[in-house]
C-alpha cells in the first residue's frame, strides 16, 4: 500500500507570533489509501488544528504552519507538499481530493442558500457540471447518504432539516467529488446518541463503498473502536501514542492513553452499575413525583388561537429515596430537562404533584431541593464574586450572611476541592470543572436532601467528568443526598445511577434497577438507545441505519394519551407495553 498522506513533524502556531504560541508541536503520521486514522484528544490537545492544517483551512482561523511537511499523493501519483502550496492550488485540492465535515451541522451550511445549491457547487467547481446535470448529481449525492425523498429536499433551506439530516447533507457535499481523503472533525459530537450511531454507520458504509481514506477526530475514545484502523492520541499539541487500533486500545503504552481508557467512563452494559444502595419501599421518599404533566400551548394562525399543545412531559411518576440516584435518560426533546425544571418550579406543570419530606411543593421554592445546571459557564453570574454567589441561596431564604455562613462557605469549597482563596475571586478565574464544583457547593449551601443534576457533567472534558462524578458519589454518601441525575450519556449514567428512568417523547417507557435495565433492556426504544452507545466492547457490531423520526409531540387541543400498560421484568424493572 502506498502512502496517501504523510505528515512529518508538523508544527502550527497562532497569533502575531506563531512560534511562541505553538498549538501543534511536531506531529507525524502516515495514512495509506483507504485507511482510517482516528485522532483522539481532549479540548486544547491540538487535534482539530492538526486536521485543519491538512487542507490548510487553519490559515483562515489565524493559524500558521511554522514547520514540518504534509505530503499528499495526488490522483495522478504526483506528490504535493501542502505546507508549501499556494492558495489556487489548495482550492483545487479542497473538495476534489480532500473533503471535510465539521462538528456543528446546524451552522456549517449557508442559511441563505438551498441545500441543493450547496451540494451542486462542488460538482460545478470540480467537475464542471452545469444546469440539469448538476442538479441530477446533487440528487444522487443525497440518495447516497440515504436521505429519503431527495429530489424534494434539494430545495429545502438548511433550517428546515434536523441536525442529523444536515450532517448527512454535509457528508453528501464533502463526498460529492469522491475525494480520496475525508477529514471528519468531531462530526457527531453535537448530535443525539442514536443519530450519532446512524452517522457512524453511514460513514462506515460509505468508506467501504468508495474506498476513501479518513481522518476521524474525536474526544470520545469509545467512538473510535467502530471505525478506525489506526489511532493517534494527542495531548497538549503532541502525539503521545499512535498505532494500530487493537494495539492502542488493548495494550496502551503511554500513561495518558491508559488514563483515557481507564478513568473515563466507558459503557459496560450494566456491569459497572453501582451496587452501594438497597431500596426500602417502606421509607418516606426524599422526592415523590406523581402524575407530572407539562404541556406548552402552540399558538398559530392570524389571531393566535391555541392550535394544540406540545406534550413535553406526559404523566411522569417516580419515587426518589434518600441516598439514592435516579437517572433520567433520554435524547433531546424527550422531556427530561423539562421534568427537572418543573420539579424546581422553573416550568409550571399542567398537572401533577410533588412531595418532599418537608411536605408538598406548591408554588413556593423548597430549600430541600436544589439544582446544578448543565453549563458551568452560564450558571454563574460573571459579575458576582464567589462569596456573593454562595451567599445568594442564604439571602434568598431570608437569612443573613454571618461569620458562620462564611465558615460554611469555606468548608464547602474545601470539601468540593477548591482552593481556600476562592471566595474573593470571580467565576472567569476558574476552569469549567472548577466552576461545576462551585455550582455543587452553591447547591449544598442550604443542606438540601435532593439535588437535581441537569446534564451536570455533559459540558466537561472526559477526564474532568470522571473526577466530578467521583466527587458527587462521595458527597452523596457523606450527606445522604438523593440525586435526580438527568443525562443523555449512558456511560456516565452507568457510573452514578442506582435506578434509571428512560424518557421517550415525554413519557417514561422503562424504569427500574440500573444494572437490570442496562444489561437487559426491554422496551424497543431503550434497546435502540443502548445499542447506539459507542463502546470498546462491542466494536465489531454493526448498527443498522434507521431513518425513523421522533414522533411529533404536538397534539390537538383536549387530547389525552391512553392509559399506559406496564409489564414487569423483575423485582424493580418494568417497561411500557408496546402496540
Amino acid at each position: 500500500m502506498t502512502s496517501l498522506l504523510s505528515v512529518s513533524n508538523l508544527r502550527v502556531g497562532f497569533g502575531r507570533d506563531p512560534a511562541r504560541n505553538e498549538i501543534v508541536k511536531g506531529v507525524s503520521f502516515d495514512l495509506a489509501a483507504g485507511e482510517t486514522l482516528a485522532i483522539v484528544g481532549e479540548s486544547g490537545s491540538g487535534k482539530s488544528v492538526t486536521a485543519l492544517s491538512i487542507n490548510r483551512l487553519v490559515d483562515f482561523g489565524g493559524g500558521r504552519i511554522i514547520g514540518g511537511s504534509i505530503k499528499l499523493t495526488r490522483a495522478d501519483e504526483s506528490i504535493l507538499d501542502i505546507t508549501l502550496a499556494k492558495e489556487p492550488m489548495l482550492e483545487k485540492i479542497r473538495g476534489s481530493e480532500i473533503g471535510m465535515i465539521f462538528q456543528e451541522p446546524m451552522t456549517s451550511l449557508n442559511p441563505v442558500l438551498s441545500i441543493g445549491t450547496q451540494i451542486e457547487e462542488s460538482f460545478r467547481l470540480h467537475r464542471g457540471l452545469t444546469g440539469r446535470q448538476a442538479i441530477a448529481a446533487a440528487k444522487d449525492a443525497l440518495d447516497r447518504v440515504r436521505i429519503p425523498d431527495a429530489a424534494r429536499r434539494l430545495k429545502y433551506a438548511p433550517n428546515q432539516l434536523s441536525g442529523g439530516m444536515l450532517q448527512r447533507v454535509m457528508i453528501a457535499t464533502a463526498l460529492a467529488c469522491n475525494p480520496r481523503l475525508l477529514i471528519a472533525d468531531e462530526p457527531t459530537t453535537a448530535l443525539d446518541v442514536t443519530v450519532q450511531a446512524q452517522i457512524m454507520a453511514l460513514l462506515g458504509e460509505l468508506k467501504r463503498e468508495t474506498g476513501m481514506a479518513m481522518i476521524f477526530i474525536t474526544h470520545d475514545i469509545g467512538l473510535v473502536a467502530g471505525i478506525a484502523d489506526k489511532v493517534m492520541v494527542m495531548q497538549a499539541g503532541q502525539a503521545v501514542e499512535q498505532g494500530a487500533l487493537g494495539e492502542v486500545l488493548d495494550r496502551p503504552q503511554h500513561p495518558y492513553t491508559q488514563h483515557l481508557l481507564s478513568a473515563v467512563p466507558h459503557f459496560e452494559s450494566g456491569r459497572a452499575a453501582r451496587t452501594d444502595f438497597t431500596r426500602k419501599e417502606k421509607e418516606t421518599p426524599a422526592l415523590d413525583v406523581e402524575g407530572l404533566v407539562v404541556r406548552f400551548k402552540v399558538k398559530g394562525g392570524f389571531f393566535s388561537r391555541a392550535q394544540g399543545s406540545v406534550h413535553a412531559v406526559e404523566n411522569v411518576s417516580f419515587k426518589l429515596m434518600p441516598g439514592e440516584t435516579l437517572a433520567i435518560v433520554g435524547e433531546s426533546g424527550s422531556g427530561k430537562s423539562t421534568t427537572a425544571r418543573a420539579i424546581l418550579g422553573l416550568v409550571r406543570p399542567t398537572r401533577g404533584s410533588f412531595a418532599t419530606h418537608m411536605g408538598s411543593i406548591a408554588d413556593a421554592t423548597d430549600p430541600s431541593v436544589q439544582m446544578v445546571f448543565q453549563n458551568p459557564y452560564a450558571s454563574l453570574n460573571p459579575r458576582l464574586r464567589v462569596d456573593s454567589i454562595l451567599a445568594e441561596p442564604v439571602i434568598a431564604g431570608g437569612g443573613r450572611v454571618t461569620a458562620e455562613t462564611r465558615e460554611k462557605m469555606k468548608a464547602l469549597l474545601k470539601r468540593v476541592g477548591l482552593p481556600e482563596d476562592s471566595l474573593d475571586r470571580y467565576p472567569h478565574q476558574f476552569s469549567g470543572g472548577q466552576r461545576q464544583r462551585l455550582c455543587i457547593a452553591r447547591a449544598l449551601m442550604l443542606n438540601p436532601s435532593v439535588v437535581v443534576l441537569d446534564e451536570a457533567v455533559s459540558a466537561l472534558d472526559v477526564s474532568v467528568q470522571a473526577k466530578v462524578l467521583e466527587l458527587l458519589v462521595d458527597l452523596q454518601k457523606e450527606f445522604g443526598l438523593a440525586y435526580l441525575f438527568v443525562s443523555h450519556d449512558m456511560a456516565v449514567v452507568e457510573r452514578i445511577a442506582h435506578r434509571i428512568a428512560v424518557l421517550y417523547a415525554g413519557q417514561i417507557v422503562e424504569i427500574g434497577d440500573a444494572a437490570s435495565i442496562l444489561s437487559n433492556p426491554q422496551h424497543s426504544y431503550t434497546k435502540r438507545l443502548i445499542s447506539a452507545v459507542p463502546s470498546i466492547d462491542r466494536r465489531n457490531q454493526r448498527f443498522e441505519i434507521d431513518t425513523r423520526q421522533v414522533p411529533s409531540l404536538v397534539r390537538p387541543p383536549g387530547y389525552e394519551p391512553p392509559e399506559a400498560q406496564w409489564r414487569e421484568f423483575g423485582p424493580d424493572h418494568r417497561a411500557r407495553a408496546e402496540a
Binding site: T365, P367, N375, S379, E392, A396
Partner: protein, 279 residues
C-alpha cells in the same frame, strides 16, 4: 483603575479618552466662565479680527472673542448632552428592564410606544417637540432625551431578555431569590457594560443633535453662545472670516469623534466577543 488602564491601552480608547478628558475640562471652564475674555463683551474696534495672540481664534462680527464663545458653547452643549442622556438612560433602562422582566401586556405597551417614537426620524421628532414647547435650552434637553429614550429601552430590553433566560437566573429562582435581588444583582449588573457603551455613544449623538438644533435657531437662543449658533452666524462670512467656520466646525467634529472612539473602545473592552478579534 484597571478599566482606565484598559481604555488607555486600546488604540482608539487612548485617542478617544484623551479627547473626552480635554473636552470635559474645556466644558467645565466654559460653564464656570473661566475663559480668556468675556464671551459677551463686544470689542467694537476689533470686529472680525483674525486669530492672534490676544484673540486666539479671532473675533466675530460684533467683536466678540471666538475662543471664549467657543468654550462657553462647549459648556452649553455638554450641559445639554449630559442632562439629556441622563434622563434618556434612566427612563430607557427602567422601561426596558421592566418590559423584559414582566413581559406580556406591559412589554407590549412599552414596546409599541417605543415603536411609535421610533417611527419618526430622530431630528423630526425633536423638531415636533420644540415646535410644541418653544425653542430653548431645556426644550432641547427634553427633545433629545425623548428621542433617545427608545434606543436605551431597546438596548436594555434585548440583553435583559437573554440574561433572564440564562442559567444563573434560573438558579436564582430555584433558591427563591427575590425579584429585586434578581433585577439588581443579575440583570442590572450584567447590563452595566452595554449601558456604558450606549451612554458614550448617546453623548456623541446628543452633541450632534444639539448643534443641529441650535444651527437651525431652535436650540440655545442668542445671545447665549453655542457651537451650532456660531456656525449659523459664520455662513455669510466664511470667505472673509473663515475662522468663524473652521474653529467651531473642528470642535464639533473632534468632540463627537472623541465620544465615538471612546464608545467603540469600551465596546471592545467590555464585550468579550469582539475583544478576541481586536486582540
Amino acid at each position: 483603575m484597571s478599566m482606565l488602564r484598559a481604555i488607555f491601552s486600546h488604540p482608539s480608547g487612548r485617542i478617544g479618552g484623551t479627547i473626552v478628558v480635554i473636552y470635559v475640562v474645556v466644558a467645565m471652564l466654559g460653564m464656570f466662565g473661566i475663559t480668556p475674555h468675556n464671551p459677551l463683551q463686544q470689542y467694537r474696534i476689533d470686529r472680525l479680527h483674525a486669530p492672534s495672540m490676544v484673540y486666539w481664534m479671532g473675533t466675530d462680527l460684533f467683536g466678540r472673542d471666538v475662543a471664549s464663545r467657543l468654550m462657553k458653547g462647549v459648556g452649553q452643549s455638554f450641559l445639554v448632552g449630559v442632562s439629556a442622556v441622563a434622563l434618556a438612560s434612566i427612563a430607557g433602562t427602567v422601561l426596558g428592564l421592566t418590559a423584559a422582566w414582566f413581559g406580556k401586556a406591559w412589554d407590549g405597551i412599552v414596546m409599541r410606544v417605543m415603536d411609535v417614537l421610533l417611527a419618526f426620524p430622530a431630528i423630526l421628532l425633536a423638531l415636533l417637540i420644540i415646535a410644541v414647547a418653544g425653542p430653548g435650552t431645556w426644550t432641547s434637553v427634553a427633545a433629545i432625551a425623548i428621542v433617545y429614550m427608545p434606543i436605551f429601552t431597546r438596548v436594555v430590553r434585548g440583553p435583559a431578555l437573554s440574561i433572564k433566560s440564562r442559567e444563573f437566573v434560573d438558579a436564582a429562582r430555584t433558591f427563591g431569590s427575590s425579584r429585586r435581588y434578581i433585577l439588581t444583582h443579575h440583570l442590572l449588573l450584567n447590563l452595566v457594560a452595554p449601558l456604558t457603551v450606549q451612554v458614550t455613544l448617546a453623548l456623541a449623538w446628543s452633541l450632534l443633535t444639539e448643534a443641529g438644533l441650535s444651527f437651525l435657531g431652535l436650540g440655545t437662543q442668542p445671545p447665549s453662545s453655542s457651537l451650532g449658533l456660531m456656525l449659523a452666524d459664520s455662513r455669510n462670512l466664511m470667505e472673509t472670516a473663515p475662522w468663524l467656520l473652521i474653529f467651531p466646525a473642528i470642535t464639533i467634529m473632534i468632540s463627537i469623534l472623541g465620544f465615538n472612539l471612546l464608545g467603540d473602545a469600551l465596546r471592545d473592552i467590555l464585550d468579550p466577543k469582539t475583544r478576541s478579534r481586536t486582540a
